[in-house]
């Protein structure tokens, strides 16, 4: 991949807070113009990564390049080209939502007033209310509108829809689709899988401060297992010796097993050799994909806790 095409290039990022290791060699590559899903269990280092990219934290080791610059040293010039929505938005109590949107836009170097009005209407926000009187969802909307009404190249969104109702979430998706058409790059940290599935070109899954998977959703699906249930014409020979077949259950002529997606072809050939009466194949859902990564993390953490 050509480096000048990269909006974000992070390699081997390390960051510790005291004895807690938040990032442990994290890699992240986001190309210009893509919407990149950033996934991982709570505490896996997503927010820490974004805060390093914003120059709020100094990494202990590794390199991070943002829009061709160094996020720690080129703060002002880089921040003119990006907008950020934090996961937990806190507004100034004596400023109205409208004032916050304008202020943050101006501090970023300008704001598209027509887009601002459009977004305020679309997200159904009363911009005259003061910071403290907004609900969590409405505070989130203020931050989203402030970020999206700016003419920037890169959007860093840290769980932006946490606290939004389903209607507003749909509005958010529609708006991000428009951003994609404008050619903007988006790094979207999210727990809402449907949102990721609908929006993201590529995703990175991290856990324990490390990147465990990166790729398009199709590529990631490829890495997982497909469930097969079949009625066979003869005895289920040869299946249990195949390396990529897991959880094989045989009840008479009926077999049930999971197979790594890249060995699906071989497994099916084996089945047709025996003779197939009926077959149900279930492709992996995104949910299963994530759950596998998330639960492996929990299992590993639990294992650690008991052995240490």
């Amino acid at each position: 991949m050509d480096d000048t095409n990269l909006a974000i290039a992070v390699t081997g990022l390390h960051k510790s807070f005291g004895r807690t290791r938040a990032l442990d060699g994290l890699d992240l590559t986001v190309t210009q113009g893509e919407i990149h899903g950033f996934l991982g269990p709570n505490g896996s280092g997503k927010t820490t990564t974004i805060r390093v990219l914003l120059g709020l934290l100094k990494a202990d080791a590794g390199t991070a390049t943002l829009l061709g610059g160094d996020p720690w040293t080129d703060v002002a010039s880089l921040h003119r080209r990006l907008a950020y929505v934090p996961g937990d938005v806190n507004l100034w109590p004596n400023l109205s939502g409208g004032e916050v949107i304008d202020l943050l836009g101006r501090l970023r170097g300008g704001l598209d007033t027509r887009r601002r009005e459009q977004l305020i209407e679309r997200f159904d926000l009363d911009p005259r209310k003061k910071g403290r009187t907004y609900s969590k969802g409405n505070r989130q909307k203020v931050a989203i509108i402030a970020a999206l009404a700016s003419n920037v190249e890169l959007l860093l969104l840290d769980e932006p829809t946490a606290g939004l109702d389903p209607l507003m979430e749909a509005t958010f998706r529609r708006t991000i689709e428009e951003e994609r058409e404008q050619g903007r790059t988006v790094l979207l940290s999210s727990h809402i899988l449907a949102e990721v599935e609908a929006l993201c070109d590529r995703v990175s899954i991290i856990r324990g401060g490390k990147t465990v998977e990166t790729g398009t959703l199709a590529e990631l699906r490829h890495l997982t297992r497909t469930s097969i249930t079949a009625e066979l014409a003869g005895p289920a020979d040869g299946l249990h010796t195949m390396a990529d077949v897991h959880d094989l259950h045989v009840e008479g002529s009926r077999v049930r097993f999971d197979v790594e997606t890249h060995s699906l072809d071989a497994a099916l050939r084996q089945l047709t050799a025996i003779g197939v009466r009926s077959l149900v194949s279930q492709p992996p859902t995104l949910e299963e994909l994530f759950l596998r990564h998330y639960t492996e993390e929990t299992a590993r953490a639990n294992g650690k806790a008991t052995t240490s």
Binding site: Y84, N90, E99, D102, K129, K130, R132
Partner: protein
């Protein structure tokens, strides 16, 4: 009582959060009276020196306005009550105000509160827990003071009255803070209103104590009640009924207001703001101005009122004092001059400098406050640099104090000038006398900035530094402390205008140290992680 469910847990939580600061406050409050009582014998070793003190000081409205009425200064107890009771009452009141607000309104502003009340915590539990902790802290301060006074050999009734007076002030302000915490939606505003009531209490009793015709004013002030109890001077125990009644009344009002408002909301309505920002709101400094203008206006108005009050009574500083060698001695210790009125003016200019230092710390700490509530993050994600962000708040700590001091100095100068027939002259001299305090305040602000950059978790040490410097300069001479120790305080190096000549060198040094501390703080802040 389901409304009180969980109170015990919240009390424990509050005590845990304050496990370091609360004992420190209590130690200062409890030990200070005993230290002063102990120093009395050294300051006034003979009966001949002690006997005329009461008459002399009692006829001096300048001292009355600062410290309170002098009932009987011929004993260590009576002297101690006169010298420190008013001052320690203010400290006790501040302690309980901060405690109540921190555990009620300030907590309610955070998401933590919802987490707590959604558990098994009753509607009245947070306020009750805060009231329990604050009243217990006030009682603890009183008990410690009583015990320490008894330990240095003072009589029982007076020691008890002193402790009760201190606790009484704490209880009344617990009730007042319980009300202000319900009135407005922000802890900062609630603290501001409650400290405003405290300032008014101090001023009312000062005016009442200084002018015999208006002595009823002292009876409007909880601090006045503490002094009217007359510890060590034929205690008037019935006066204790006043703080007790006021506490019950204010607490009742507080609970009544609590029952009539929604969680997170105040009783005073929130107005709608503007739909879009005015063109002026376009920079970090413009934002800082929006955040600082309210407190700055409050401090400036308060300073002008206090300046007017003190300036108005300055002319009444008695002729008796100039004839009395022992009194001259006290004043000489403080201001190196026998020009008593000017010495008094110098003394109040100094006091304004010390009080303004707390505004400086408050303004400087706002930068850290913004960081803690994660409002700095979206700001630093724009083109605002860390330097600009920190500077936008520090400029109010540095220049805002100049404004507050100018208001106090001009008001005092004009008020005194009107009575002395030289408005322009005194206005100018008092302006100079207050502005000359700035380098010392800047040094305190520098300490706050350095802490902010280097050890943000320990930033509250800035308050301790400010209070420590003030205490050293204020009580050091009365405690006969080693001059070297008193010199640690920057306030000990400020020229006492208008009586003394202006010494530039110490001010230049103070400014230089302040600049160095600010630089350290800013450089460290640029290098550290944002919380």
């Amino acid at each position: 009582m389901t409304a009180l469910a969980g109170t015990g847990e919240l009390v424990r939580l509050a005590l845990r959060r304050d496990r370091v600061t609360l004992p420190l406050w209590l130690a200062v409050l409890g030990l200070m009276p005993a230290l002063v009582a102990n120093a009395y014998a050294g300051l006034y070793p003979t009966e001949a020196l002690r006997a005329p003190l009461t008459a002399m000081v009692g006829s001096n409205p300048a001292l009355a306005v600062l410290l309170g009425p002098a009932y009987d200064l011929s004993t260590p107890g009576g002297f101690t009550a006169w010298r420190v009771l008013g001052f320690l009452s203010v400290v006790t009141a501040l302690l309980v105000i901060f405690t109540v607000t921190q555990n009620t309104r300030a907590e309610e502003e955070t998401a933590r509160h919802e987490l707590l009340v959604s558990g098994v915590v009753g509607r009245h539990a947070p306020l009750t827990a805060a009231v329990v902790v604050a009243t217990a802290a006030a009682a603890g301060a009183g008990l410690l003071a009583t015990a320490a006074l008894l330990a240095v050999g003072l009589p029982m009734p007076g020691s008890l009255a002193f402790g009760a007076a201190l606790a009484g002030v704490g209880w009344v302000f617990t009730g007042i803070a319980a009300i202000t915490a319900q009135l407005v939606a922000f802890g900062r505003t609630a603290n501001g209103i409650a400290t405003g009531v405290l300032g008014a209490s101090f001023l009312l009793r000062g005016l009442g104590d200084a002018s015999p015709r208006a002595s009823w004013l002292s009876w409007l002030s909880p601090i006045g009640w503490a002094q009217q109890l007359r510890p060590f001077a034929q205690e008037r125990w019935w006066v204790l009924a006043l703080p007790v009644a006021a506490t019950v009344l204010t607490l009742a009002v507080g609970y009544l207001l609590l029952a009539h408002r929604d969680a997170g909301a105040g009783i005073l309505p929130q107005r709608l703001g503007r739909a879009s920002a005015p063109p002026s709101l376009h920079s970090a400094f413009a934002l800082a101005w929006r955040l600082h203008r309210g407190p700055l206006a409050g401090w400036t108005v308060g300073a002008a009122l206090a300046g007017t009050a003190f300036g108005a009574v300055a002319i009444g500083v008695g002729d008796l004092i100039t004839e009395n060698p022992a009194m001259r001695e006290i004043f000489r210790r403080m201001v190196d001059s026998t020009l008593v009125i000017e010495a008094f003016l110098a003394q109040i200019a100094r006091m304004f400098g010390m009080v303004a230092a707390f505004y400086g710390v408050q303004a400087a700490l706002r930068a850290h406050g913004e960081e803690v509530v994660t409002r700095v993050e979206p700001l630093l994600a724009t083109t605002v640099t860390r330097w600009r962000f920190a500077a936008s708040h520090l400029v109010f700590a540095l220049a805002g104090t100049a404004v507050v001091l100018a208001a106090a100095g001009l008001a005092a100068g004009i008020a005194h000038g009107l009575r002395a027939g030289d408005v322009a002259g005194y206005a100018g001299r008092m302006l100079a006398a207050t502005q000359v305090q700035l380098p010392a305040i800047w040094l305190v602000v520098g300490v706050a900035a350095a802490l902010f950059g280097l050890v943000p978790r320990r930033i509250s040490a800035a308050w301790a530094a400010a209070a420590g410097f003030v205490l050293l300069a204020l009580l050091g001479p009365a405690l006969n402390l080693d001059p070297l120790l008193v010199d640690v305080s920057p306030f000990s190096h400020v020229s006492q205008l208008p009586v003394a000549d202006l010494a530039i060198a110490p001010l230049a040094w103070l400014t230089l140290i302040a600049v160095a501390l600010l630089a350290v703080g800013l450089v460290a802040f640029r290098r550290r992680d944002i919380a």
